[in-house]
């Protein structure tokens, strides 16, 4: 049982009309790993995330998480089990301040207190205060503490992207899946995001990340899975993936993998 992977993707396929976006995808991620998912544009990375997180239903195949078959389970219920994803395009609660966005991210952790909240008991108020404190802490970790009271939609794109990570972190994920967290970020922001990923992984969060920045991929990952035309063409350590012929061919002319 201890050897069972945290996430097992088994024969997952997804068709869009005639297009096969994912074709019999199979791989596993163990508790505590930091795994990168790479592949050229349109390879099916985001589709794979959508299927695993429950935002799309697979055409066939299944997702097993913490020993549970997730088939047919709604996204919010998967998130409650600790399987949390971020989005490729910056996603925030636009009308709210950055700190309120992060508090919303921790909503489920506080839900038991909703009834207490209705009656405004002192316990409920303490709860609210401590969630706010925790949210500020998460913003600090993400380097956004100076933006706490800014409206989320007023933040520059890169900061909205990082805020999306902060919102996900506030939900205390067990498996955090990030879809291109550094796309649209400048070099400094990029650097800080990889530091955050490294740090939360050290704290025990399993991390699964779609990434285009090869320095981030090679520097951080325990393992790299390469997707091309909806199929896994490599699943190995960064060093060996870098030397893999099929991978080099898939990327030739796409971008420099060295």
């Amino acid at each position: 049982m201890t050897d069972a992977p945290l996430l097992a993707v088994q024969g997952l396929s997804r068709r869009f009309g005639g297009l096969v976006a994912l074709d019999d995808l199979t791989f596993a991620i163990r508790q505590g790993e930091l795994v990168s998912l790479i592949g050229p544009n349109g390879a099916g990375k985001t589709t794979a995330f959508n299927l695993i997180a429950g935002f799309l239903a697979p055409t066939s195949g299944r997702v097993v998480y913490a020993g549970r078959d997730l088939t047919g389970m709604a996204p919010h219920r998967r998130a409650r089990l600790g399987l949390v994803r971020t989005f490729q395009q910056a996603a925030v609660f636009g009308d709210q301040t950055a700190v309120d966005c992060v508090v919303a991210g921790s909503h489920v952790r506080a839900e038991a207190g909703i009834q207490a909240g209705f009656f405004g008991t002192p316990g409920a108020r303490r709860d609210e205060a401590s969630r706010y404190e925790a949210a500020l802490e998460v913003l600090r970790l993400c380097g956004l503490d100076s933006r706490a009271t800014s409206r989320a939609s007023d933040l520059p794109y890169g900061e909205q992207k990082v805020l999306g990570i902060a919102i996900a972190l506030a939900s205390r994920p067990r498996l955090l899946m990030l879809d291109e967290p550094t796309a649209g970020l400048n070099a400094v922001e990029s650097e800080s995001v990889s530091a955050i990923l490294d740090r939360i992984n050290e704290q025990g969060v399993t991390v699964f990340v779609v990434e285009h920045d090869m320095r981030v991929v090679m520097g951080l990952s325990d393992r790299v899975i390469v997707l091309d035309h909806g199929q896994v063409i490599a699943d190995d350590t960064p060093d060996r993936v870098r030397a893999d012929d099929a991978v080099i061919r898939a990327y030739l002319g796409d971008f420099d993998i060295a």
């Binding site: 997180a53 935002f55 709604a74 996204p75 919010h76 219920r77 998130a79 409650r80 949390v84 994803r85 971020t86 989005f87 996603a91 925030v92 609660f93 636009g94 009308d95 709210q96 309120d100 508090v103 919303a104 991210g105 921790s106 909503h107 489920v108 506080a110 839900e111 207190g113 909703i114 009834q115 909240g117 209705f118 009656f119 405004g120 409920a124 609210e128 999306g164 919102i167 996900a168 506030a170 939900s171």
Partner: protein, 332 residues
């Protein structure tokens, strides 16, 4: 001003205004205030879905009518007291809201709008055609006046204008308390998250369907509360209680006052009930002028009148402190 200060101020103004109404004891003014209070309950209810949850319930008046008919049928046909009928009306509206929700909460955007409006239309025609129960277009006439026991005040009856106003204001107070607590309980945060980005909300575990049902149920209950008080107050319920005119009015109240704000719907309700009365001096120009005022409100206060900060405009009008002159850079 912080939200807390603004709400305290609002409460103080409201209490003062209510006290003044009772002291002046003018039947006409009290009638306007009574309708304002009843429709404020509805505006608060509609604002839960349209403002907080972000789903625009275009058939919201359905619950107003359900409340009205339930009260009429129970008092006239079953001989219930108005108080008991009021409670049943609220429960009935909540039940109808949950059933309607099963259909409409699968839908979003324009589909949600159309589906909710369709339910209202169905209710209107049922009320007209199901003559055995509703008495058709003639409606149900002669409801007993609302009456109940208020602690410290004693028995209040809506037979006189002051009693009616007291009952409507009590209903409004209950509605304010319920809305305030539900929004503050954490449900408000979940609704706002769903409104602002439903996928993101789901990705952190927020159950959009459950929270949408909660919003719809509370909002339907408030509609039923308003409908029951209204029916008792006017003493008659006809299919016109489902009329689209009521829907437009409540919608205006929410939008003019401030969608998704706490005080906005209440302020909006009293404005929409009062301003046309003030304009009676303009005789036949009354409604065109009201229309122009509405357009002005939407142009100049698109977030609602409660978002206006007149004291800021005043401050901006005052001469500012001159900017600090740049430090001269001396030769290196």
């Amino acid at each position: 001003m912080s939200a807390r200060v603004r709400i305290s101020l609002g409460l103080a103004v409201a209490t003062g205004a209510a006290a003044a109404l009772f002291i002046v004891d003018d039947a006409y003014l009290m009638r306007i205030a009574t309708l304002g209070a009843i429709f404020a309950i509805l505006a608060l209810g509609l604002n839960l879905t349209a403002g907080h949850l972000g789903l625009f319930d275009f058939g919201y008046i359905l619950y107003f009518g359900i409340g009205g008919y339930t009260t009429a049928l129970l008092t006239l046909r079953a001989g219930w007291s108005w108080e008991a009928a009021l409670v049943a009306s609220v429960l009935m509206s909540v039940a109808v809201g949950l059933l309607v929700g099963v259909v409409v909460l699968r839908l979003r955007g324009p589909y949600f709008v159309i589906a909710t409006f369709s339910f209202l239309t169905v209710a209107y025609y049922v009320a007209i055609n199901w003559k055995e129960v509703t008495n058709g277009p003639l409606g149900l006439i002669g409801l007993p006046a609302p009456a109940f026991n208020l602690p410290a005040i004693g028995r209040v009856e809506a037979l006189d204008p002051a009693g009616a106003l007291a009952i409507a204001l009590t209903g409004l107070l209950i509605a304010v308390a319920v809305v305030w607590r539900v929004v503050e309980s954490g449900a408000g945060r979940a609704w706002h998250a769903i409104r602002d980005n439903e996928d993101l909300a789901a990705s952190v575990g927020i159950d959009a369907t459950a929270y949408a049902f909660l919003a719809l149920a509370v909002s339907a209950g408030l509609g039923g509360l308003g409908g029951s008080i209204y029916a008792g107050y006017v003493g008659i319920v006809t299919p016109e209680i489902f009329a689209f005119g009521h829907m437009v009015n409540v919608l205006l109240m929410v939008v003019i006052g401030g969608t998704g704000t706490f005080l906005g719907p209440i302020v909006g309700a009293f404005l929409v009930e009062t301003v046309p009365e003030l304009l009676r001096v303009a005789e036949s120009f009354r409604l065109p002028i009201f229309g122009l005022l509405l357009i002005a409100a939407i142009l100049f206060a698109p977030q609602g009148v409660v978002s206006l900060r007149p004291w800021r405009a005043l401050r901006a009008g005052r001469p500012r402190v001159p900017p600090v002159p740049p430090v001269e850079e001396g030769p290196a």
